[in-house]
Subunit: 218 residues, 2 copies
């Protein structure tokens, strides 16, 4: 009985993850393809759904713990779902922030072609997808591969900021737009960082080994 | 027996909260008083302690659930501690980010006197303190007062950014320093935002009413 409820819980979590991935993907597309409707949809429609789903999953976890008093591995799974749920909601917030900045940017002339920011978004989305797959399949090797990729996104963000500083310095009229692009880069970096949290939680769930904060528990 | 363990758990959480408040306070002082040692201490000493404490509290909660199979209000308290713990660790990360930016800034000429940023820090610290008091005393009125104060910090951040944009535009040599100040303002805003999360969780713990995301559960 508890096994079935946990399957149900996992399905809900997959729904949440898929929605958040779509939000990141659409915030990128909205920016690159200047699609205002896509951006507004994220802010007005999708983000509220993520918030309701977070509450629903949270309550589901609490209910399962209270009703079934799960032990050992089942309890670990439920507590991991609680954490993943929380981190996914935060990634949704970042997608919303990105959409707000994008709404500002698409109404104004572009400073430069967007190359690194879409790459950051793609990388972050893949990191989330892989973390969720790792969770469902208890695949710690895949989860570990996510942790390493965080550096790629960090480096892209630093590159974006360095480049934008030169634009701002040579033409002060670009400052406001550059700040919004920097905000987007920071939000994508944070989304990728949260994806590594997901993978860390998966590793802990499977191995009981803490990889957080570079502390390997040994 | 479980009651005593929960008291122990609350003590650990208070230790964690106090450490994180000190980190925010010292990151502000390090910046304002240009105290390099204070900033390095946050990054090298205090942040790793917060990370260990987070893991310790997390494990403590899991152990209590697994051993005592708490129901109803005890379970609510333990699950709330889990969330508060996670949010406090994130606030610690923001204090670390602020310290890194401050280390950059204190070696360079000041763009302007720091007024709003220290006010933001003070406000965020008080919001955390009040949230923890609200948790310990199950004081939902105090927790509700924290939620309202988030706007103050948001407005201060917007003001900081607007002002810095005019500096950057009139003197491009200030851009790099202005970006670090903006980064600090964003991190303080996020810390205050996490403090509202703490208070939301307290209200939910006491009233079972969801105030998250402007959704009042009715």
């Amino acid at each position: 009985m508890l096994k079935n409820r946990i399957l149900e819980l996992k399905e809900k979590l997959m729904e949440m993850a898929s929605l958040v991935e779509t939000m990141l993907e659409n915030s990128k597309r909205g920016l690159v393809e200047k699609k205002r409707e896509l951006l507004l949809e994220i802010i007005e429609k999708k983000e509220p759904v993520v918030n309701s789903l977070e509450i629903e999953i949270d309550e589901f976890c609490t209910e399962l713990i209270a009703l079934y008093q799960p032990k050992a591995s089942d309890l670990r799974i439920i507590l991991t779902v609680l954490k993943i749920n929380n981190d996914l909601e935060r990634i949704g917030d970042h997608a919303e922030n990105i959409s707000q900045s994008a709404l500002f940017l698409i109404e104004r002339p572009q400073i430069k072609p967007l190359i690194d920011i879409p790459r950051m978004a793609d990388e972050a989305i893949q990191m989330i997808k892989d973390s969720i797959t790792a969770f469902l399949q208890k695949d710690t090797a895949l989860a570990s591969s996510v942790l390493i990729r965080d550096d790629i996104v960090d480096n892209l963000r630093d590159q974006v900021i360095r480049e934008l500083i030169t634009y701002m310095a040579s033409d002060p009229t670009t400052i406001e737009r550059a700040l919004e692009l920097i905000r987007i880069a920071h939000n994508l970096e944070r989304a990728a960082d949260l994806a590594t949290n997901l993978s860390e939680d998966v590793i802990f769930m499977v191995e009981g080994k803490i990889v957080k904060h570079g502390f390997d528990g040994t």
